[in-house]
């Protein structure tokens, strides 16, 4: 039984994590939230209070913290007897927060791979460049670290494990499909920080096929997917974290990730990229001012959090897993559908933040209850998916399965 949670970060996903922790503080114990800017934490606490989200009376405190400072993070953990850390800060702080957990024995959860600011799309598998180097140390010290426990990566890893375990003798391919069929009503906007969003799409797209890493580029490989609720949607192969752990754990399967983009998004992206406006390299204006174009584009675009109140429509994220069972081909689609408006009404965030923020809280509850308290470092597909789905069903992200022409709950 581990208790007392520290949330690191104060963006859109942290807001969802805070609300969901509050709604389950009977299981999770004391709650803390820390980021470099304490006022952003306080705004999240005020929102939790406004929604009366705390299930039982309890602690929820805000702190100022530079999460790159291992000693300061370890001190905050010790001072507050924290046993579970949910890291939803910028991707640049993963390794320092993990070090603080190893030092203090607290369990560690994150939702995305570590990144260094000056590097984009390093060599695959991405986890081997940073996180997995600490795996032996976690095992030695008995520290639980659950990597990539958002929706994708995270829930989609559990979808793959579940489809293979339940329906197959042998897996042949895992295609993860992420569709946002919602509408924010703006001419153009990104669902995350535009700088991070565009950064994700300007590098190499890695995927795993025929037991080797292959490369393509963004928008080069697209296909239409006929999906539950959201209908037919076009998605394009993109680079994504979960491809890198699933390819390691299921090397016999092809592993690909597909992200949905409308023609309008692609057109705007293409215009901005080709003109050079997505560049991180500064240009000099005729008046002699040095400016990074991408930062100007960001300043012109809507703040992603401003989209939430008017966001309508649904997301559909799932895994199409193919394999064989008793010598017969079998095909299973495991998925979730979430609703932007419902997310906003419940926790004040849009659906993209909601799907990313709910799963790490489920993981924290599983660690608190003991089911996922592995005492070492794990990716999500290495853990039993059933208790994860059970909690996700209860806290807002139900899992469904399409198999043999039937659409049903995962446990029906």
């Amino acid at each position: 039984m581990k208790r007392n949670v520290l949330i690191i970060g104060a963006g859109g996903v942290a807001q969802v994590v805070a609300h969901k922790c509050a709604q389950n503080n009977d299981v999770l114990g004391d709650l803390h939230i820390a980021s470099r800017t304490k006022s952003k934490c306080d705004a999240i606490l005020a929102s939790v209070e406004a929604k009366k989200a705390m299930k039982v009376d309890g602690v929820f405190k805000s702190h100022a913290l530079d999460a790159l400072d291992v000693a300061a993070t370890a001190a905050l953990i010790r001072e507050n007897d924290i046993q579970i850390v949910i890291n939803v800060g910028t991707a640049f702080v993963n390794m320092s927060v993990l070090d603080a957990c190893i030092e203090t024995g607290a369990a560690y959860i994150d939702t995305a791979i570590h990144e260094e600011p000056d590097k984009i799309c390093e060599t695959p598998p991405w986890y081997a460049n940073y996180e997995w180097k600490k795996r032996d140390l976690c095992a030695e010290k008995g520290v639980t670290a659950i990597l990539g426990a958002g929706f994708d990566p995270g829930v989609v890893n559990a979808f793959a494990r579940f489809a293979i375990d339940e329906y197959m003798d042998e897996v042949k391919s895992i295609d993860i499909v992420d569709i946002n069929a919602g509408s924010h009503g703006k001419y153009f906007a990104t669902n995350f920080d535009p700088e991070i969003n565009f950064r994700e799409f300007t590098g190499v797209v890695y995927y795993w096929e025929d037991q080797q890493w292959k490369e393509t580029t963004m928008f080069a490989s697209g296909r239409d997917w006929d999906l539950p609720v959201v209908g037919t949607q076009r998605a394009y192969q993109s680079g994504h974290d979960e491809v890198h752990s699933l390819a390691t754990n299921y090397p016999q399967a092809d592993v690909r990730f597909w992200m949905g983009f409308g023609e309008h998004y692609i057109n705007v992206f293409t215009v901005l990229k080709n003109i050079g406006l997505l560049s991180e390299q500064p240009v000099t204006t005729a008046e002699g001012q040095e400016v990074v174009p991408l930062k100007v584009v960001k300043a012109c675009l809507p703040d992603p959090s401003s989209l939430a109140p008017n966001y309508t429509g649904k997301t559909c994220i799932g895994d199409l897993v193919k394999g064989t069972k008793d010598g017969q081909d079998v095909e299973v689609f495991v998925y979730n559908v979430a609703d932007h408006k419902e997310a906003y009404e419940e926790v004040g965030s849009q659906g993209i933040s909601y799907t990313a923020g709910v799963p790490p809280v489920a993981a924290a509850m599983l660690i608190a209850q003991g089911d996922w308290d592995a005492g070492t470092m794990k990716n999500v597909e290495e853990m039993d998916p059933k208790p994860f789905f059970t909690i996700l069903d209860e806290i807002g992200l139900p899992t469904r399965v399409e198999v043999n022409g039937e659409d049903k709950a995962w446990n029906a």
Copy 2:
């Protein structure tokens, strides 16, 4: 007989003017070129020398000049015994250069209306806001001022006058069509300074129909034109100087201007405009830097003069004039076709600069010879077009006519 020319400006059009003046210095006398940045004038002189453009031995000198300074401009005119000024500087200096001409008695030629930096698309007719206020003074002092003597405005005004005089008893409509069917091989570029180019397209589009001013917006009114050499091309109603003088001189005719744009140009323009990247109002980046987005877009786009070496294809600019003759409907298309590559080989500029820069030199030659030395202020359609066409035929921009299914030289 007037002699000795001062060219004001040192951009792409000034380069063409300089070469053409040099090629005709037996008629024009001493040549001078002045701009705020003398080194740009010197680069043009070096190009004139490299092409051995001077027809006869003679003077061609560069000067530093702030053309907003009337006294300095008048002094330069007097010191060098200049009798003809060709103003191809920024549109912001027209009125100060005109004042210097009125003060010294030199003839004045320009190629575009006066603009104030903080005003876009003032009330029609545009010439009445600035230039025409000086008409009586020019007449009183006997100063020749030929307004808008580039291609459009300029040659297209003469095309209209010619079509009406030669072929009609009554004119009903004048549609000016400007097509650049050339290709510069870049993803996107503007043929003039991007800041000025985009400025032209963000305001109201004025046109003259049913004897009154009407308004539309850019890209709202488009149609396909079947044209000589360049074939079928889509053009959109745009605001342009010549509409404002032709509507005044031929109020019984509808007067419209059409500019050719490909879908790609319109798409890029639309994306940039909708995101706010064409705004002249500063935005503040997340890091606190104040930046004007349009200036960053300009810094990212190719320098227009860099397009010239690889520009291929042709321009077609002409007037479709409709009216009646002896009670019968008549329709005449008067036009010119120019070639980007030929322009570059002759004067080191692309075709857009070439068509704008050759006509004011023809106007200067007509003033030097006496034909157009009006002793007052005139728009081009108020002058005899035939000697103008004769010189343009000789110096690189021949005029052709399509009438009754026949395509021929204007004087065939």
